[in-house]
């Protein structure tokens, strides 16, 4: 494979790879010392363990849970899922892990939330349930780790963030890349002046789509197999089709937040907000182009959400394919850094002269979960707490809406409303299907 022009020529040989890896570790050490290395996650007495339950565990939730269950100070005790096969699969995993049969299964999340022994819950349902389930959990006195996107609309995100404060709960959004060393390293380069004055942030996203279609109606299964009414929950009614519950809810207006924009955008826009030290705000305006959505912050920094036609394949020319999925790039006067799920830290030629490129370990959720559990104990705010999540999700929704409406939108990050655009403002919320409501 041909090396990128800015790659250090000598990275070709094992000896130097060793050197680079060793040095990379040294360079990055201060920002990425995991809490487990600091003695926060050793062997723990049962009385000191965090008791965890989970609601809605599909393939993604299983990844989260696999990492969480491995934490020594966490005891996973209960699974709730409206699909029997998923309930049983998670129980089997937990029982195998602990060597007992203690994991309890629930079809109704309120039965799980009523258990006083449960401290925290992992919520990994489909998008349309995230906010409501999180709020009900908070109202029941549980701390919450919610997969992203954390809500379906701007109004849901606002209700969720307010509710977490109201009930004094610890909240972690499943935007786990903030806890990964390579993304932390890149953010630090943006913060410490290595890149010079920051001017452009690139966030990769899928080519936006949104479908209002309904899949063909099929007979509903027995409620114990899959409770369709509960699966729909706060989403408006539509006829059952098994593909939805198998994961084909993605892209549907009523089930996936912001079309598909937030699938990667919740991560990559969030990372750009972080790089720009803009966690308390959002860009002030958004404008869609054929290849991207461009946002502009009050501090003059530009956010470019690049559409990737082959997000899981060749990501050139916008990004290097070698940096992996979910890439971001931060550009300043002195140079740029790009990173993604491969863990590669790619640098501009100007920066290669000053420091070396290297590769850090790729995607792992473990540290993000660890941060959540540490905060459950300390009551500190997590790295992706409700306030961080609120603004980064709002930025995503506003960007997606500028694409959907096909015009420039101006956004007030304090009032959290669009300026002089009634139609956009009306799209900030939708009705919730009865009997559910966000009056929590």
């Amino acid at each position: 494979m041909k090396e990128h022009p800015s790659s250090p020529a000598a990275s070709r040989r094992g000896f130097l790879k060793q050197s680079l890896a060793a040095t990379a570790g040294l360079v990055a050490a201060p920002a990425i010392i995991p809490s487990r290395a600091l003695g926060l996650s050793g062997s723990v007495a049962p009385s000191n363990r965090i008791t965890l339950g989970a609601i809605g565990i599909g393939p993604r939730g299983r990844q989260d849970l696999t990492n969480m269950i491995a934490e020594k100070d966490v005891q996973f005790v209960a699974i709730c899922d409206i699909q029997r096969s998923r309930r049983e699969s998670v129980k089997q995993m937990a029982d195998q892990h602990y060597g007992n049969s203690d994991c309890q299964m629930y079809r109704d999340m309120f039965d799980l939330l009523a258990r006083p022994d449960i401290d925290a819950v992992l919520i990994a349902t489909g998008d349309h349930w995230h906010a409501l389930a999180s709020l009900e959990a908070a109202k029941a006195g549980k701390d919450v780790y919610s997969e992203k996107p954390c809500g379906m609309t701007i109004a849901e995100i606002q209700a969720l963030a307010d509710g977490m404060h109201r009930y004094g709960r610890v909240f972690q959004a499943g935007t786990q890349r903030r806890s990964q060393s390579n993304f932390q390293y890149a953010a630090r380069m943006a913060h410490d002046g290595t890149l010079g004055r920051l001017h452009t942030l690139h966030a990769s996203v899928y080519v936006p789509i949104k479908t209002y279609d309904w899949l063909p109606a099929e007979p509903e299964p027995p409620k114990d197999e899959c409770d369709w009414d509960r699966w729909l929950g706060p989403a408006p009614w539509r006829p059952y089709n098994k593909l939805y519950v198998q994961g084909r809810w993605r892209g549907h207006h009523d089930f996936e937040a912001g079309g598909n924009f937030l699938d990667w955008g919740a991560h990559t826009v969030d990372l750009c907000q972080w790089a720009n030290q803009a966690d308390a705000t959002t860009p002030l305006e958004f404008e869609a182009t054929p290849t991207s959505i461009i946002g502009r912050y009050a501090n003059g920094v530009t956010l470019i959400c690049d559409f990737l036609p082959t997000a899981f394949g060749d990501r050139s020319p916008q990004y290097r394919t070698s940096t992996g999925t979910c890439p971001v790039r931060y550009e300043g006067d002195e140079g740029w850094v790009e990173t993604g799920d491969s863990g590669e830290i790619a640098l501009s030629n100007s920066l290669v002269k000053k420091q070396r490129q290297f590769k850090m370990p790729g995607t792992s959720n473990a540290e993000h979960g660890r941060n959540f559990f540490d905060c459950v104990k300390s009551r500190a705010m997590t790295i992706c707490n409700q306030d961080v999540m609120r603004k980064s999700h709002l930025a995503c929704f506003a960007a997606q809406m500028s694409w959907q409406l096909g015009r420039k939108l101006r956004f007030d990050p304090v009032k959290e409303e669009f300026i002089d655009d009634d139609e956009a403002n009306r799209m900030r919320s939708r009705a919730i299907r009865e009997p559910w409501s966000f009056h929590i």
Partner: protein
């Protein structure tokens, strides 16, 4: 699936972009009304029309939406429309529906009136909230909480205080919503009264905690006594919410009170309060936290050590250094991490000053920390420590220099390198020299090493410098290394040969090509061949690349050697037709035809996907057709045939 097909004109609406200006909305609303009133439009079309009504519909559609509020499948969609049409008629329509609907449909309408904060609905909602037979007590209470005017607040307060037990949770939730609304609109006294009422209502813990939080925050500084009371609670749930609330209270007076509390608190609270105080970033927190480094509680000591990473100053340095030697492994490693992370000014120089007083093991650790901290200002000190006779210390110093060594350090590193005894430390020193050199422009990297080589007399030094030159590359360095092939010392000659094999640029190619000849030993010939193929492949765009490959092609004889050259030929073919021509020859060579076929297919695949280029597509197509007609597997033949069709050029 007729029921879910798109209806007539609505397809246009779905596919058209939704950037209608306000003036266009009336016309589009008319279309939506047609869909909603059409006997042939299906549920899906009507559902989407309702949603679009919420996005841009005008008041004309409100009665049409209202007519759907009782529809089992469309009521939510209709409410989406009504909740978002900015016209008071929407709320009027919802209110009117209160008297006509039952069950879930009614509940949805009650919820929507709460979303709209419709004050005119308060009377009707109060009725529903006070009548358990309505089945609407809970949603009505919550809607009243959202509306939060004096009348609705009175109703929900009463319900929370003395209403039926089964509805008090919802009444309390409604009160919390109402209180927040009062705070947001500047009515703190009313909010305070609501929160205080709730605190006395004997609610379940989460609601009680939320009420206490609100009661503390609404009082500002005046909430401090209540906060401290909660912090001191023996109930962890109560204390936990207080710990979160403390973080929401700004001001140095709060910090001072929490700091004072730290002194008297029990160990488990001390541990948690340290975390709260650290986040407040106020200087006067430091000393009390430092004091806790001597706590009897290991958990408190650990929390204090972690805290110093964030708030530690020069006064913290000796304390953390002392912790480094702690017998508690968790504390010593935490101290190390905090030293690496501390941001206070002058810390790097302070650490460097402490180095002479440390035992070698601790010294090595601290030197490592200076590297972690990228402490460029202490590089001169690190250069001195690199000369230490203690291998652990000197290795740590070289490693740190690899991180902190700036261009001005580079030339000074070389004598230190040569003063280092042979072995692992010198190997580390060589790495450091190389890594430091990368911070200089290419043309300035070699001269200091060449200068040292010219004056080197010991074989060990010459070998070290040859290895270093081999990493740096460039023509002048290559000439010097080539001359070392004539050195009287055999080990120096061998080092020079090995350096040429791995040479990073084309300067070494003539020497390598020569070494692939018959005058070399079999081992050297094999090594030279691999080195030359690597280099030629790397430089495959060079104008000289075809000549190199042709020469190499003549040197290879065994099938194993031929296989080595095939990938390079595929790369050569990017810009030079000779690469394809040589591949063509190999396709005819039975000893490597299979591997050559695979290389051709792989190359073509990359070209078709746009990941590679090729000098002459028509020739690549011809090679593919040869493969397709050859003796390879059916899969390979099919793939070659398919790829050939995607390349330009005459087909067979």
């Amino acid at each position: 699936m007729q029921a879910f097909c798109f209806p007539f004109s609505l397809a246009v609406l779905f596919t058209a972009p939704l950037f209608a200006a306000a003036a266009e909305n009336a016309g589009k609303t008319k279309q939506l009304i047609e869909v909603l009133q059409s006997p042939t439009a299906d549920l899906h079309a009507k559902a989407r029309a309702c949603q679009q009504a919420g996005e841009f519909g005008t008041a004309e559609i409100i009665p049409v939406l209202a007519a759907l509020l009782g529809d089992e499948h469309l009521s939510t969609y209709a409410r989406s429309g009504l909740e978002n049409i900015p016209d008071p008629a929407a709320a009027t329509a919802l209110r009117s529906a209160l008297g006509t609907l039952k069950g879930d449909r009614l509940m949805g309408v009650v919820n929507s009136l709460g979303v709209l904060r419709d004050e005119k609905a308060v009377g009707a909602l109060q009725q529903l909230a006070s009548d358990p037979a309505s089945g609407m007590v809970k949603p009505a209470l919550l809607a009243l909480g959202r509306i939060a005017n004096p009348e609705s607040i009175g109703a929900i307060q009463k319900a929370a205080r003395s209403g039926p037990a089964q509805f008090r949770k919802e009444a309390a939730s409604a009160c919390l919503l109402a209180a927040e609304r009062q705070v947001a609109s500047g009515h703190s006294e009313l909010a305070k009264a609501i929160y205080d009422d709730l605190r006395a209502a004997g609610l379940p813990k989460p609601l009680q905690a939320a009420a206490v939080r609100g009661a503390i925050l609404v009082r500002g500084k005046g909430g401090l006594p209540l906060l401290l009371e909660q912090l001191r609670s023996s109930d962890p749930d109560v204390r936990n919410v207080a710990l979160r609330t403390a973080r929401e209270m700004p001001g140095s007076e709060i910090t001072a009170a929490l700091t004072a509390e730290l002194k008297w608190a029990k160990a488990d609270l001390q541990e948690l309060l340290i975390g709260v105080l650290v986040e407040r970033c106020e200087a006067h927190v430091l000393q009390p936290v430092e004091t806790l480094l001597t706590s009897d509680s290991a958990a408190v000591r650990l929390a204090a050590i972690h805290a110093l990473a964030k708030i530690g100053g020069p006064s913290s340095l000796p304390l953390l250094l002392k912790q480094l030697t702690s017998t508690n492994e968790g504390e010593s490693s935490a101290a190390l991490a905090s030293l690496a992370e501390m941001q206070a000014a002058g810390i790097n120089k302070s650490i460097a000053k402490e180095l002479p007083r440390m035992d070698p093991k601790t010294r090595a650790l601290l030197i490592g920390i200076l590297g972690d901290r990228n402490a460029t200002e202490v590089a001169p000190s690190l250069l001195e420590w690199a000369r230490s006779p203690d291998a652990e210390v000197s290795t740590a110093a070289f490693k740190a220099l690899a991180t902190v060594g700036q261009p001005e350090v580079y030339a000074k590193l070389i004598p230190v390198l040569l003063a280092t005894p042979e072995g692992p430390v010198r190997t580390q020193a060589e790495r450091t020299v190389y890594l430091t050199s990368l911070r200089l422009p290419l043309e300035r990297r070699v001269e200091p090493v060449l200068s040292a080589f010219r004056s080197a007399s010991h074989a060990a030094d010459k070998k070290t410098l040859i290895r270093t030159l081999g990493l740096l590359g460039t023509g002048p360095a290559c000439e010097v290394v080539k001359s070392a092939l004539q050195d009287p010392d055999e080990t120096v000659r061998e080092a020079a040969f090995r350096a040429l094999i791995d040479w990073p640029d084309a300067a070494a190619m003539p020497a390598l090509l020569q070494a692939t000849g018959s005058n070399s030993t079999p081992t050297h010939r094999a090594l030279a061949l691999r080195g030359a193929i690597r280099l030629a492949s790397r430089e495959h765009s060079s104008a000289e690349a075809p000549r190199w490959f042709q020469q190499l092609n003549q040197s290879v004889s065994s099938p194993a050697e031929k296989r080595l050259i095939l990938p390079g030929l595929a790369q050569l073919a990017d810009e030079h037709v000779e690469g394809l021509q040589m591949l063509q020859d190999y396709l005819q060579d039975p000893s490597v035809a299979a591997e050559a076929s695979a290389a051709v297919v792989q190359k073509a695949g990359a070209v078709v996907k746009g990941r590679s280029k090729v000098a002459q597509p028509s020739l690549l197509k011809a090679l593919l057709e040869t493969v397709a007609a050859g003796n390879g597997s059916k899969t390979q033949r099919d793939e070659a045939s398919s790829l050939a069709k995607q390349l330009p050029g005459p087909g067979r």
